[in-house]
Symmetry: C2
Subunit: 284 residues, 2 copies
């Protein structure tokens, strides 16, 4: 793949994701952003994309490059168009900066975010170690079908044009009315224009795969995210990401989806967890 260097990434919107997540300072702690067209699911900009935009403002506002632990609570659907992010530093520490951010559009506040940022290049301590973790087993990407939007069908969503997802056919049974019954989805992910993944883009990848509960047998439908949390553990190496997403508990109308993202050298780069409402045929 064509890998951009760090300085490429700093020169501005050469890549599609950078254009769609650019932040421009407009005052102390305030950033103007543009929610771009096409990063949506069913017409609603993807929650992970919105969080990535907010994270970019948090990085700019705190001068700490890596979103170590970020949580977004979603308040109202966003829409493509102008928006602002207000960043307030809560605590500036030796190792971490904790800050809050509000994403606002004309209609009101869209998301509130609480985050602790760090510089993972300065991370010390014990070497990486896992107890039972590791990348999901996957056929090579070229042997996994790419999810591509097929209007007027709502699935795959337009977002699949912006994030290249390749999922083994046996985990796409839900798409032909034959879900496996296991609420797990795994696959490959990258930007189709060759932009390398980085820490800021990981919240997007953490929310881009098809919901695991579709494969678990729940009816297809809109699943509003109440809350999305992402821990970024390492800046990803260039190349494909591998992701695995799993739901274990549906209680009443609530379910979680837990995700792991690994980079091309097999290291864990992010953990995610979201709380969502069970899928509904039409928005309630």
């Amino acid at each position: 793949m064509e890998a951009g260097t760090a300085s490429d990434l700093r020169t501005g919107p050469r890549w599609e994701f950078d254009a769609a997540s650019a932040v421009e300072p407009t005052g102390p702690g305030r950033w103007r952003v543009g929610i771009a067209d096409g990063w949506d699911i069913g017409g609603k900009p993807n929650g992970g994309y919105l969080l990535a935009v907010v994270v970019r403002a948090l990085v700019a506002g705190t001068a700490r490059p890596d979103p170590l632990a970020v949580t977004a609570h979603y308040l109202a659907p966003a829409a493509p168009g102008p928006a602002t992010v207000d960043v307030t530093v809560v605590r500036l520490g030796r190792r971490h900066t904790t800050a809050t951010a509000s994403l606002r559009q004309a209609g009101g506040e869209v998301a509130r975010v609480l985050a602790t940022l760090a510089d993972l290049s300065a991370s010390r301590g014990a070497p990486a170690r896992t107890w039972g973790g590791g990348p999901p087993p996957l056929p090579p990407p070229e042997r996994c079908p790419r999810l591509l939007p097929a209007p007027p069908s709502p699935l795959p969503p337009p977002l699949a044009d912006r994030v290249e997802l390749r999922v083994p056919a046996e985990q796409l049974g839900f798409a032909v009315g034959a879900p496996s019954g296991e609420a797990v989805v795994s696959g490959w992910a990258r930007f189709p224009d060759g932009r390398p993944p980085d820490a800021v883009s990981l919240p997007l990848f953490a929310d881009a795969f098809p919901p695991a509960v579709f494969e678990g047998g729940l009816p297809l439908g809109w699943m509003p995210t109440v809350e999305l949390s992402v821990q970024v553990r390492k800046r990803p190496a260039p190349g494909w990401l591998r992701g695995v997403f799993r739901t274990r508990f549906l209680t009443g109308e609530h379910l979680e989806e837990d995700g792991e993202l690994y980079d091309s050298v097999g290291d864990l780069v992010a953990l995610s967890r979201q709380l969502a409402l069970a899928p509904r045929p039409a928005e309630g």
Copy 2:
């Protein structure tokens, strides 16, 4: 066990936990609280206990009884003594209220919390369903040793007097220098004075067990919590809780601990995840 009724719980500090988490309004959106002695680990009030105190103020400030999704970022160690909680409602919705809270002591802000509260008694939708989840297999509580403080040893901590924990002996190898190598700890938990568990107390139970990485073979030491997130899914039935806590990834100095809490009828009542710094012999 002696089970309190809901009205008992509302009448005030009959139980130890209620006395230690009482909140008193002192102005619009402001609550006076007392961080109690003895709910600590190594002299530092437990992060789950602090979150439970904040949740009590959030419930009082939003009139929604259940902390559906709460995240605390810890800013500085707390100390026993007076504190205040400031609650700000971000969005009052039909189903959910999102709010922030700040826990402050004389020395400054101790924790910032972002939360979405709900009324789980009104939860509709699909019945409970699991894909591979369920309570951990455990011998009956009377066949599991109770963790009890044994000063001057720092372990078990004073908190173990306030939360009764019973862990199978084979998961306490770390205590005798022979950890199993599996970073998993499970066991039984309840209030020793017979107070039934409720939604507000679940953040405490989610942070009360010994760290799973001790059993995974990491050296014993102080593990500062950076961030603790809890999803409360159901109000627990009276009786023992069962918990299982697991760490899978240590990357640099960071590790997660994921927890599940089940009530006495075997239903999931809470999921937790924390980001902590790897244990260190002395605080850095």
